[in-house]
């Protein structure tokens, strides 16, 4: 049984690379989608706007960023963000403006606070728990491997 289907005349590496490109393609494409033209003064300003819009969540369609969404409210909020940038507001001030109105939900990166510690460091805890389990299992197995192999069908 082969582990992964291969295309004729292609190696595994090439196949995987193709698959990876395919998986990443929608992510790259969505950045360019759904943005109405705004009168940017410079490419730097446009880059800053795009970075900010990608960090903010659309409040209507909860799994899209402000940059990706073509919902009416997302376009209004993009205009608002652009207006605040024109007024010389910093990224922090713009995020505060939106958080005040829509809550922390609009931030894709929630602030690191005691209340969000589990969210930020939870995955690390899970990783540590997994690593500990692996270490414990490996340590227990070592002496066993010097003994004759266990009988067939015996579980861990």
């Amino acid at each position: 049984m082969s582990a992964a289907p291969t295309l004729p005349g292609r190696g595994h590496g090439q196949f995987l690379r193709g698959l990876l490109a395919l998986l990443l393609a929608p992510g790259l494409a969505s950045v360019a989608v759904a943005m109405e033209p705004l009168p940017f003064e410079s490419p730097e300003q446009e880059a800053r706007f795009r970075a900010l819009a990608a960090e903010l969540r659309c409040v209507m369609c909860q799994n899209q960023s402000l940059a990706d969404s073509n919902a009416g409210i997302a376009s209004d909020l993009r205009r608002e963000v652009f207006g605040l940038m024109q007024e010389g507001k910093s990224d922090t001030e713009i995020k505060a403006f939106l958080t005040e109105r829509y809550g922390e939900f609009v931030l894709y990166q929630p602030p690191v606070a005691p209340r969000t510690w589990l969210l930020w460091f939870g995955p690390l805890l899970v990783l540590l728990a997994g690593a500990t389990t692996v270490v414990v299992i490996v340590r227990r197995r070592r002496p066993a491997s010097e003994l004759p192999p266990p009988a067939e069908g015996e579980d861990w």
Binding site: M60, Y102, G103
Partner: protein
């Protein structure tokens, strides 16, 4: 022995957790609450101020300052919004009781269409401020229509509902929050 049962225990624990999650959503839906609804950042704070032209007479304006002194309901609607039509009879009924002033924020609408819609489905709003470009809605943290906000006599936002109002929600969440004398 316990080692053999450990994977099963982990599986059952996880299954239980996921099942509880599903049940929680079902319960919220049964209570008429949208499980995806977000808590409003406004609750307990002063209602964002606005001064907007009235739909029926754009030469006059209505402001949050003028509404202070009695509880009022801000009902965000638009003639383009199908769900607004569903809740509209209940909103009209509520306004007709006279227990609370119902203010209909006309959100990103065409005034002609808006008036036609009201003529067709009924108009019991005490005031209809017009938010043509949606700027006021952003101040209120509105994501779409319909949305409703209960504002206390002192101008504090007491409650927010996203989506169409139902008789049950009006009774429990809106009338239930009014002072005794108005219930």
């Amino acid at each position: 022995m316990w080692k053999r049962l450990l994977p099963l225990a982990v599986f059952l624990g996880l299954a239980g957790l996921l099942y509880a999650g599903i049940r929680m959503n079902e319960r919220r839906e049964a209570e008429g609450r949208d499980p995806n609804a977000l808590p409003s950042a406004l609750i307990g704070r002063q209602a964002p101020a606005f001064t907007l032209p009235e739909l029926h007479d754009p030469s006059t304006t209505i402001s949050t300052e003028q509404l202070r002194g009695a509880p009022w309901l801000l009902n965000v609607w638009g003639s383009w919004c199908p769900a607004c039509r569903i809740e509209h009879p209940f909103v009209t009924q509520l306004a007709a009781t006279g227990r609370i002033k119902v203010v209909g924020l006309n959100y990103k609408d065409d005034p002609v269409e808006a008036k036609r819609w009201l003529a067709r489905y009924g108009d019991a709003y005490a005031h209809i401020p017009v938010d043509a470009d949606g700027r006021t809605a952003i101040d209120w943290g509105v994501a779409g229509a319909p949305e409703s906000f209960l504002v206390g006599a002192d101008g504090t936002v007491l409650y927010k509902h996203v989506g169409p109002l139902t008789p049950d929600i009006i009774k429990r969440e809106i009338l239930g929050r009014l002072p005794e004398s108005l219930r």
